[in-house]
Amino acid sequence: MSSSEDAVRRFLSGEDDAFEQLVRLWEKRIYNLAWRFLGNREDAQDAVQDTFFAAYRSLRTLRKPESFPTWLYQIALNHCRGRWRSRTDQVSLDEQSVEKQDGSEGIVRSEGMAPEARDQLETVDLIRKALVNISEEHKTAIVLKEYLGLSLEEVAEVMECPLSTAKSRLYHGLRGVQRNLKRLGVKS
């Protein structure tokens, strides 16, 4: 039994403290999911907070503790989609390059860094723009597969779609990122 499953079972049996263990186990993964989906750290942090509040409220309705990861990913993705749609300042492919941004939007301030590190940061910032500017479904598939390391079947389960649909979304997502990277001048 995984430590998450054990913590869920303890929470369901009335141990409220077990929820803190779940948060500490999952907050980094959920943050990185939101960060890749939204492309904005503050929004990602807020989405993580909302996700865990929602999870706390409805965890008692979870019937299978072993399905907690899928369930939590779905909650997080719902919050990310909500935030993404309500954002007025969508990340644009034509956005300023990273060295001209403050630390809140781009990757980090790159002043005073070694050229190699700076190049890598710039590349990562371009990847961020390329990824967040594809459709929500394609982006979801890529984040789940590439960054959270889920299997194709798990991706389909989280996205509540057939396996063939999940593969299709992944394929078109990768092609979309490839197109955006080309537009941004990044060789992949």
Binding site: Y31, Q120, Y171, L174, Q178, V186
Partner: protein
């Protein structure tokens, strides 16, 4: 196997997941023999490699834990039960009222009866047609006799009054006669 038919299935080869990878040797054979599909597979692999440059980060802040739920009071479970019981009782009473339910205890037995129309009262509280006719007749007779009696009393009173007046006048005439005789 046509190239445009297998584009989306390149994902099977792109991700090394044993089950799907070995599931379709035909697909593998096609890609290895088709320069276009092989190039596309390489490109997709390149996109994956580029995406992997975006490493995980540590959250800006730790998640704020929700306030622990309050432990329910010892007898708190009573209220939902009582509320449901009251609602059930109200529904039952409404049902009994709407169906004109009658519960009686007669000769050591309960009887329960419902009807959409109110239950008919026992026969003794109602009059038959002939009874009503007799009653009306009695009432009319009674009224007529009262009228006759009243008329009789009125006539009697009138006659008494006339007798009294006649008697008074007679006394007056006699008195006047006596007076004139005395004067003569």
């Amino acid at each position: 196997m046509r190239c445009d038919e297998i584009k989306e299935r390149l994902v099977d080869l792109l991700y090394d997941e044993g089950r799907t990878r070995s599931a379709d040797p035909e697909l593998k054979a096609h890609v290895q023999s088709c320069p276009s599909c092989l190039r596309e597979l390489d490109e997709l692999g390149g996109v994956r490699a580029t995406l992997s440059l975006w490493a995980d980060e540590t959250p800006l802040r730790p998640v704020v834990l929700p306030a622990p739920r309050k432990a329910p009071a010892r007898w708190a479970f009573i209220w939902p039960v009582a509320r449901r019981f009251a609602m059930a009782a109200a529904v039952l009473l409404a049902f009994l009222a709407l169906t004109n339910a009658e519960v009686t205890w007669e000769q050591g037995r309960f009887s329960f009866r419902t009807s959409l129309m109110p239950a008919a009262a026992s026969g003794s509280n109602y009059y038959t047609k002939s009874e009503i006719r007799d009653l009306v007749r009695e009432a009319l007779d009674d009224t007529e006799s009262r009228v006759i009696e009243t008329n009789y009393l009125m006539m009697q009173r009138v006659m008494d009054t006339m007798d009294q007046e006649r008697w008074s006048e007679t006394r007056l005439v006699k008195a006047r006669g006596n007076d004139s005789r005395v004067k003569n």
